[in-house]
């Protein structure tokens, strides 16, 4: 083994080798020449980063510029992507937003002339926080660049100001395919310390005292889980990383895997050593090709360098990791279903009267943690439990990554200390609701989370507080809704997802979610009856109480939370056959405002039942006796002349 042609010379045997790699990494990250980095995580790529990268590459080639071009992960501000990051010795690092291929080429000229191109800049960085150093890394900046002040500092940008990036510490800063980059920012030094100076029990103690709770949703204390697994009887133990991330719209785990895969590997290595496991699995959903690729590269590099495999760092500790690709069902992220899937069976949950830490994969003690949980581990062990447990709230320590989406000005991935209020997240980081609209609710926790109304905006966000108000932390989805959202429609949307994604085993979950969906569908179509709310509540109770796994147990949250905070909206639909948010077409009357109508014939042509009369220059009109309330006219009208009541 190990003879891959490169010889043993590449193996990292001790601290000196690590330090040497760090030097290499530092010159890669901060070369003494110009370096341009394009954010090329999936979010960047879907915003067009590939084309920007190519244009810059061609520009550099054509002009024979001595500029290094590199790729990095995601800096979180997905809305402003493609992001291009320019490093120039003597300059602040400048991050340019909303780049295009043309702008990329133009930027090359500007760089050549020593300009800043302030108007395209999102922010500048003059220092970086490194968790593994006491002092931030300050860039040396030449004098005579005073006009840089026109570009806001990174830490003054609203979106970033209140963030604290622990799990995301390297995303956007390093080339995820370079192990040297990771080592340059302190990576694998903790592993070295762990393997050489710490006993497994000490690490478990540290994890317990840190207060770290699992980021996969349930918030189970990580240290306690490790301890149970270490103590469980078995000839072999496994550690597993849950990277199934089945919540639609959530991509925190993807971002970590794509942007900083070694942080997960190092976390798993430390955990495995603490637990006494020598084999690990990373279960990644199939729809994450870039995450699989970057993680695959990371594993290969770590193996080549002796950071995975046998006798790691010369300590005698062995550990290997395999990637397992999941089929993409939401329920496959549930711990027992995930393990069934790794074993080659259908991903279906089973009863957990015997815990997986005692009998998991192939009936052996198995410790499962989420991507984000693992990524936190090296920092916790390096900085110590007492450093970590000062961040966050009494019951929830540290930070949490959220994907902030919906009706909000700044969308993207954010990492904030536990206990930050919803108001701070939405109004400071998210910078409020667009188009001057009113905030209505925020849905947290993924599809089976709950909707939280404005009167609870000052709620500190942590595991227990979110549960108390009828929602949950889940994986960290956060969808902001404004006044134009119908809460019954929202409940229906999530219940529809859950009824499709239930594995279908339990009567209560399969038929419970289906029947809740049917009732909600009826209500939004004007067919709601007295007693529907009570029947929904009864179905919700049974679904939660009688179902086997957490999918069924939490599936009623969307229904229950919207009934709890927006009961009047349900009643308006059922009793008055009205949708206050004017979303449910069947409950609306469509009319055309003759003052606003520009008589363009668009709606007339597209109405499927020819209910609209009018011709050029004659304002159009809708014949209510023919209208089937499909809403097409409202959607297509270029001047919003279609009124609804």
């Amino acid at each position: 083994m190990g003879d891959d042609g490169k010889g043993d010379g590449m193996k990292v045997r001790g601290l000196e080798d690590l330090k040497k790699l760090r030097e290499e990494g530092l010159t890669r990250i901060y070369p003494d020449q110009v370096k341009i980095t394009v954010g090329m995580a999936t979010c960047g790529i879907s915003a067009g980063a590939n084309r920007v990268y190519e244009a810059i590459r061609e520009g550099i080639e054509k002009e024979k510029l001595s500029i290094i071009l590199a790729k990095s992960g995601c800096l979180g501000f997905c809305q402003r992507e493609p992001l291009v990051d320019v490093w120039r010795p003597g300059f602040p690092r400048i991050i340019y937003e909303e780049m295009t291929p043309e702008k990329g080429v133009e930027l090359l000229g500007e760089i050549f002339n020593g300009g800043l191109k302030k108007e395209w800049a999102l922010c500048r960085m003059e220092e970086e926080v490194l968790f593994f150093e006491d002092e931030p890394l300050r860039y040396k900046i030449e004098s005579g660049l005073e006009d840089r002040d026109a570009i806001p500092l990174y830490q003054d940008v609203g979106f970033y100001r209140k963030q604290l990036k622990i799990a995301l510490r390297n995303c956007g800063y390093i080339d995820p395919e370079s192990i040297e980059d990771y080592i340059a920012r302190g990576g694998y030094f903790t592993l070295y310390k762990v393997l050489n100076e710490m006993k497994p029990e000490e690490i478990i103690e540290e994890a317990k005292r840190s207060g770290l709770r699992g980021r996969g949703g349930a918030g189970f204390p990580t240290g306690r889980k490790w301890e149970s697994c270490r103590r469980a009887e078995g000839d072999k133990r496994y550690v597993v990383c849950n990277a199934d991330e089945g919540d639609p719209g959530a991509y925190m785990d993807r971002s970590v895997l794509e942007g900083d895969p070694h942080s997960v590997l190092e976390g798993m290595l430390i955990g495995a050593y603490a637990i006494g496991a020598h084999e690990g699995y990373i279960y990644v959903r199939n729809e994450y090709p870039l995450a699989v690729k970057n993680m695959g590269t990371a594993i290969k590099k770590a193996e080549e360098m002796g950071l995975l495999g046998e006798d790691i760092l010369g300590s005698g500790f062995d550990f290997t990791i395999k990637i397992n690709r999941g089929g993409g069902a939401f329920v496959a992220g549930e711990s027992t279903a995930l393990m069934a899937s790794i074993e080659g069976y259908v991903a279906e949950p089973r009863a957990k009267h015997i815990h997986t830490v005692e009998s998991g994969l192939w009936d052996r003690p198995t410790n499962l943690n989420n991507v984000e949980t693992w990524a936190n581990v090296p920092v916790i062990v390096e900085k110590g439990a007492d450093w970590y447990n000062k961040i966050g709230t009494e019951g929830s320590k540290g930070t949490k990554i959220f994907s902030l989406v919906g009706k909000i000005n700044n969308t993207g991935l954010i990492e904030v200390p536990m206990g930050m209020t919803l108001r701070e997240v939405i109004y400071d980081i998210g910078e409020g609701i667009p188009e001057g609209k009113q905030f209505k609710a925020v849905q947290t926790g993924g599809p089976s989370g709950g909707c939280i109304p404005d009167k609870l905006l000052d709620l500190p966000v942590d595991f227990d507080e979110l549960t108390k108000v009828g929602s949950m932390m889940g994986s960290g989805g956060m969808i902001v809704m404004d006044e134009s959202t119908c809460m019954v429609d929202v409940a229906k949307y999530f219940t529809d997802f859950l009824k499709d994604e239930s594995c279908g085993k339990c009567t209560s979950c399969r038929d419970g979610t289906l029947r809740m969906y049917e009732i909600l569908d009826n209500i939004t179509k004007g067919k709601g009856k007295e007693g529907d709310i009570e029947l929904l509540e009864e179905l919700a109770w049974v679904t939660a109480e009688a179902s086997l796994c957490a999918l069924g147990q939490t599936a009623p949250n969307p229904v229950l939370s919207t009934i709890r905070y927006f009961r009047d909206e349900y009643e308006a639909h059922i009793r008055d056959k009205k949708c206050p948010a004017k979303v449910c077409n069947e409950l609306l009357t469509f009319t055309i405002d003759p003052e606003a109508c520009i008589a363009c014939l668009k709606c007339k042509k597209l109405c499927p039942v020819e209910a609209i009369t009018g011709e050029k220059k004659v304002p159009h009109e809708i014949d209510q006796s023919i209208c089937i309330k499909c809403g097409t006219c409202r959607e297509v009208c270029p001047v919003d002349a279609v009124r609804v009541e």
């Binding site: 089973r350 038929d511 419970g512 289906l514 109480e545």
Partner: protein, 244 residues
């Protein structure tokens, strides 16, 4: 797992004893407690799908609703088989099941006993199948043919031969026997047997002595192959063989 460890615990206040790790439902039934159940059968492993066998278990001071068919018994647990919450859950589960299997006598009876006369939900056109999975388990675990499986998830979940091709079904009828809602029908016409739900028709072996068809030829060859029996082992029907 060498020697049997016995544990003592209480069901509805009565002290009972059982081997540690056995499932609670069979123990309770053995002791004469009545717990309605649909997806449990002693011939196959427990699965926990119908959710009807709910009981309340108190363990280390914590009480929760749990299915009894797949709950391994433990020293000192306190089991309640008939609380208000249990009845409340049972009623809704039966109401849900009644909408799936409105023709099933067993479901109708259980529902009636729980006070449910009709269901508020629209009836489903699923041929009375409640997706209990007994047919799948008996076929896989007992018969060993593994001819049927669950298909799809959520409200589209179904049970049947994979890719709608019953190629592995030996038409033995074990699923017909075990199905709690009688929704798997078996028909015998002349020398052919059909398992209607799986759309499988097989020729029957005729007894070389009395001439009566007695079992699917495919099944007999399958057993001969599997257990390595002499080729002429099934020439006679069981009656003629016994009388020989």
């Amino acid at each position: 797992m060498a020697d049997k460890e016995m544990v003592r615990f209480a069901i509805d206040g009565q002290e009972v004893e059982a081997e540690k790790g056995t499932m609670l439902l069979p123990v309770a039934l053995e002791y004469g407690f009545e717990i309605p159940h649909l997806c449990y059968h002693e011939a196959v492993s427990p699965y926990g799908a119908c959710r009807l066998c709910l009981v309340e278990v108190t363990k280390r001071g914590r009480t929760r609703l749990t299915t009894s068919c797949n709950y391994p018994v433990d020293e000192g647990i306190d089991v309640t088989t008939d609380s208000e919450d249990i009845q409340r859950a049972r009623r809704m589960i039966l109401e849900l099941l009644l909408a799936r299997a409105p023709h099933s006598e067993r479901i109708k009876k259980l529902a009636y006993e729980a006070g449910i006369k009709e269901t508020r939900f629209s009836l489903m056109d699923v041929g009375d199948c409640i997706l209990c999975g007994l047919c799948e388990r008996v076929c896989r675990e007992v018969v060993g043919a593994d001819a049927i499986s669950f298909i799809s998830r959520g409200d589209k979940r179904d049970v049947g031969p994979p890719f709608a091709d019953p190629i592995a079904c030996i038409a033995c009828g074990a699923c017909v026997y075990i199905c709690p809602t009688d929704c798997i029908k078996m028909e015998e016409r002349g020398d052919e047997r059909t398992i209607v739900k799986w759309n499988r028709t097989l020729k029957m072996q005729e007894c070389k002595s009395c001439g009566k068809p007695f079992a699917p030829l495919f099944q007999l060859n399958w057993i001969i192959d599997k257990v390595n029996l002499p080729k002429d082992f099934y020439d006679l029907c069981p009656v003629c063989r016994a009388g020989r």
